[in-house]
């Protein structure tokens, strides 16, 4: 693994934390369960704050800035508000499905963090199939969303749910293929090993993979410009139109927990995870997660939404071939055993390929898929 042996930016040499840290299976389990729940909830509040203030700034308005210093207590106020709201269930709804949906959607968002390393070795379970686990578990939230859409007995919700299933099934493929590029270079499926292998952040070695993963990831978690399941201007609120009170809050939480999860995966796979000079590793991890999330906020405020057929076309005609190409190129480079001293050449070659392919393909892509369906 010639390329993976590189180490150019890690000034602080970190001893890996022993796998059973902080001692004993049950202590380890309990400690990280608390850490993960605390981390997810804190980050969700943090990213909600970042999103609201950031969007306020980008849209030249103030954003919530009244509750607490700099509006910092706004997420708390939001939480209190939704907790106190009335829980309304439509008469015609399938009560059990309607009730279960937010729970089923929420669990996977939390479970993803089981294999995300906060520091070298600091993770709940260092699975040797970590990334495979993430791919598998993240798809489960689709079931929750579809249940919400189906169980609400509302046509907007149903449309949103159908869109969701269509989109997730399509975007799963480029998402996984984009990951495989990273796995090829790192030579491991364990997320901790992938971070350890990142002498230079893989975003440099895998720029195309990063872009594909970012786009597919945004689509998976229902972020703009792929937020078709929600599509406020078309189908009101999509799958959660009929949700109120605490159950709505759960969906809200899922949305942001998933955004944090995707940001964390991107940070781990492409941005060097917890690695970085001077600052403590966990802080580097948090900083990277926030940076990725900020880019999502930025795209959300800037871009209009795609149409469902364009969304599908984007997955199948753009992301899918590109991810295959990325996989092919990466495999060739790894097979050829690219020498460590020429890593900068590989970076330049891959960035050049990415830029050319994206430009050519996007010109080609936008010519496709414009047509009226005759009825």
């Amino acid at each position: 693994m010639a390329i993976a042996d590189l180490n150019i930016y890690n000034l602080v040499h970190l001893q890996p934390i022993p796998p059973d840290w902080p001692g004993g299976f049950w202590w380890h389990w309990l400690f990280f369960t608390v850490v993960i729940i605390g981390f997810v909830l804190t980050m969700v509040m943090g990213v909600i704050y970042i999103e609201r203030r950031g969007m306020g700034r980008m849209q030249s308005r103030l954003g919530p800035n009244r509750t607490g210093p700099f509006g910092l207590l706004q997420p708390v106020a939001d939480a209190v508000k939704v907790l106190l709201k009335e829980n309304i269930v439509p008469d015609a709804a399938d009560k059990l499905v309607h009730w279960l949906a937010p729970v089923i959607a929420f669990a996977p968002a939390l479970m993803i963090f089981t294999v995300i390393p906060f520091q070298n070795g600091a993770l709940l379970a260092d699975l040797n199939i970590g990334i495979l686990y993430i791919v598998a578990i993240s798809s489960v939230s689709t079931v929750g969303i579809f249940m919400a859409g189906w169980g609400s007995s509302n046509k907007y919700s149903l449309l949103g749910a159908m869109r969701n299933v269509a989109a997730i099934v399509s975007y799963e493929i480029p998402l996984v293929l984009a990951i495989v590029g990273v796995v090829l270079i790192a030579g491991s499926l364990s997320l901790n090993q992938i971070v350890v292998a990142q002498g230079i952040p893989f975003i440099l070695l895998q720029p195309l993979g990063f872009l594909l993963f970012f786009a597919a990831g945004c689509a998976e978690i229902n972020r703009s410009p792929f937020d078709l399941m929600e599509a406020d201007s078309e189908i009101v609120a999509g799958f959660h139109t009929e949700y109120s009170g605490m159950k709505f809050a759960m969906f809200y939480l899922v949305e942001y927990a998933e955004a944090v999860a995707i940001s964390a995966i991107i940070a781990t796979l492409f941005l060097g995870g917890w690695r970085g000079p001077l600052l403590p590793p966990w802080l580097w991890f948090v900083i990277k997660v926030i940076i990725v999330f900020f880019v999502m906020v930025w795209t959300r405020t800037t871009l209009p939404r795609l149409r469902i057929d364009q969304l599908m076309a984007f997955a199948w005609k753009f992301l899918f071939p590109m991810s295959l190409l990325n996989l092919f190129i990466t495999a060739l480079q790894v097979l050829a055993g690219w020498p460590t001293e020429l890593w900068w050449l590989m970076v330049m070659v891959n960035i050049a390929i990415t830029a050319t392919m994206v430009l050519i393909w996007s010109k080609f892509f936008f010519k496709l898929g414009r047509g009226r369906i005759e009825v």
Binding site: S233, E234, P304, L306, D309, R372
Partner: protein, 367 residues
Amino acid sequence: MAVRTEPFVLNMGPVHPSTHGVFRMRATLDGEVVVDIEPVFGYLHRGIEKLAEQRTYSGFIPLTDRLDYISSMNNNFAYCLSVEKLAGIKVPERAEYIRVIMSELQRIAAFLIAVGAFLNDCGAYFTPFLYMFRERERIVDLFEMVSGQRLTYNYMRVGGVSQDLPEEFMPALRKFMDLMPRFMDEYDRLLMQNEILIARAKGVGILTKEQAINCSASGPVLRASGVKWDIRKADPYSIYDRFDFDVPTQETGDCYDRYRQRVEEMRQSLRIIRQAMDQIPSGPTRAEVPHLIRPPAGEAYARIEAPKGELGFYLVSDNSIAPYRCHIRPPSLLNLTALRDMTRGWKVADLIIIFGSIDITVGEIDR
């Protein structure tokens, strides 16, 4: 084996984020595809035309503000023109210029909302909408200077305008005129070349030249389909024949063209305002008009090029102090008649943006 699908009816509105007011569409869908739509009006009906018959000629002006409530100045303008035509009243020069300036500013303000709301319908999460509101605020500030109001201005009067421009108006207007072209360039950079916007709007919801003419469409909707028809040029009213401006037209009549049409018309409006600012004379701003106008028996129809198209007021007088009959020709209603043809076969998402690109105000449809 072909999978059999079943169309279902989706009720959009009267309360829906994108129906621009209390407008309702009963859409028959086959999955995401629009098979048919049926527009349903009447949720905002207030009987404004009937109310006109119970008020004096001047007393009706405040109610015209409530028709197309985002272009109140134009409504005032059209109504005052029709009363003046009916009663044969001559408006002083300065008032004519003020009316033109207000009318064109209002056009820009209305188009800002139209374009912003259209982009919102495309799913651009409020950013363009709020940017356009930022500029609209400047125009509303100008209107507040002259009329004291920020939405329903009630500024124009039969025979002129309610009061002369305050001293600080012209400098403020000049400042706005300097800033606006820069904002327009900003919109172009942000949106006109945006790939997603082009993919969403180009070729979508085409209204052909013939269809547009057949359904009596007017304004930007008609001109985007390639018909060079602008009442300011075709049948000049007020002092529009003194200004040098172009009537831009587009070719295909799709959503993108309607959007671009509005942007280009904003630039033309800026040209008109600039000329009016240079030429504006001093003098009285209101003709000597009796408090209770009693026009001779007869009828009059005056029309203007409102932001949404031809806005006309048809008045019948029986020589009393109130109109015997008042009929309003609203552009939104007639533009909307093309909706069904434009949306069939497109997707739900397209239905929303096609509807948004027509730019209606329900207050005007449900008089």
